[in-house]
Symmetry: C2
Subunit: 274 residues, 2 copies
Amino acid sequence: MKQETADGVRSVERAASIIQAVADAGEAGARLTDIAIKTGMSKTTIHRLLGTLVKVGWLDQEDKSSTFYLGLPLVAIGNTASDRHGLLDLAAPHLKRLAELTGDTVYLAVRMGSQALCVDRVIGNFPIRTATLRIGDRRPLGTCPGSLALLAGQPQDLIEELMLSASHLQIGSLKVDTVGLPRLIAQSRASGYSMSPEVLVPGADGLGVPVMGAGGSAVAALSLETVDSRLSEPRRTQLVEWLQREAAELSENLLRLSPGFSQREVHRMLADAI
Amino acid sequence: MKQETADGVRSVERAASIIQAVADAGEAGARLTDIAIKTGMSKTTIHRLLGTLVKVGWLDQEDKSSTFYLGLPLVAIGNTASDRHGLLDLAAPHLKRLAELTGDTVYLAVRMGSQALCVDRVIGNFPIRTATLRIGDRRPLGTCPGSLALLAGQPQDLIEELMLSASHLQIGSLKVDTVGLPRLIAQSRASGYSMSPEVLVPGADGLGVPVMGAGGSAVAALSLETVDSRLSEPRRTQLVEWLQREAAELSENLLRLSPGFSQREVHRMLADAI
DNA sequence: AATGCATAATCCGTGTAGCGGAACTATGTT
DNA sequence: AACATAGTTCCGCTACACGGATTATGCATT
């Protein structure tokens, strides 16, 4: 065998590995050698690519030290990425309103492969604060209220596929309860909201609801995290109601403003309308 | 002349141009031809790079349409980028507290070249909401309260340099008042806070204070935006006091937890301490 | 100071990976 | 049906990236 299925621009793939390595290093940054160990690429190559990456602003070498950090321009890029179809702007008022009504922490998540990606959050004013997820954090679908709502809102065939997918079975320390999951999904669909399948943080718990897009599947999820004592019955029904109302409104705005239709389809529809 | 000073990995530079082009296109995404027009590169090259960029997850081609969006993994990367040295985590409680105390919108900004980059914000509960900046937005230094505080907090020689820098004179529709700026900087330094040099959004105004890092220069700025009627005197003094207190605490935490010292220096200091 | 050990920067010959013009296909428009 | 526009594939040429070897730098230890 020559190369596996290597088609693609090598340098760019390598550059991506480097960025990923630096991102994994987190707030502390990474040095050339760290990256070499992590990626297995030769130091020479990394050195060359580092130069380019610094040049384009994706990496940053503070003063002239040997530690590299992710470049600040990536902040703007990342934020634009999370605003695809204007979702962030549309959802912001709903998140804010929920956080005010409930006092708890509210999250907005979208699906990224077999994971849920947290793209926004608003922390409420209730004195005891629970804020487990940060923007950019990922969870395997089905392991927290939001990601469960997102999963349950997918078409059935996709659910099967996602549950089977190997990467889905275990990501980090979180393992998906493959056995119990179908029941949880059924429950979510029946009741219109999702509860946390297992307690991740002792004392904290949450609720999630799907945000429907065109085609009847979930494009996002709104979820809420609070101390478990504040999820008991009189309050829970109220919370679910609020979440569902905001999700419905958001869904409506999404469908009106950013259709999942191609330009051609829109054209055709406009033509028909005239 | 052969090539300008072109050293660097071409493909990666090109890939960066493409990502930038897609980012500039914003929430609506970009097509191959759009990118070709914007970057001036040949379609073949773009096509090849697009393939790679999709493969590494930096671009996303929804279903199989011809529109490319920024990949969701960039959200996580961008967020890590803004958390350099743990700034985001350290600052979050202060932002939250300020937003609660004041009811107004609070921003956290850092310097990126001759611009200020907004890396976090919390919208307060006051019924009239002003939220001009979004996370990832940039402003030339000196054009808004936060960026002015950031500028005034730099060492004098850097200020001169930044004010001279051509790119600084006009970015987008914002033009820096080069003439009035030195006075504004002096005022900011004397009073310990900055006011908006000019009104960007009618009826809205703000205050900014620097967050000091090691070496006595500003590493970040806290700022606050509100309706101008809420900035008149009895209240303004109170706001400045709150901002300065939070900035001071944040500064202290920054110095304690994430020093600008190299690993060796830390080593030596620890050794001395024993 | 002197030595030793990392890590980072530079050099350079080799081979291939990336380049882009042109031709082709697909899709929507008049 | 003919046109227009956007995207894809082909292919030969060369510039460009590769990585082993070498040198330079910066910190710790003696």
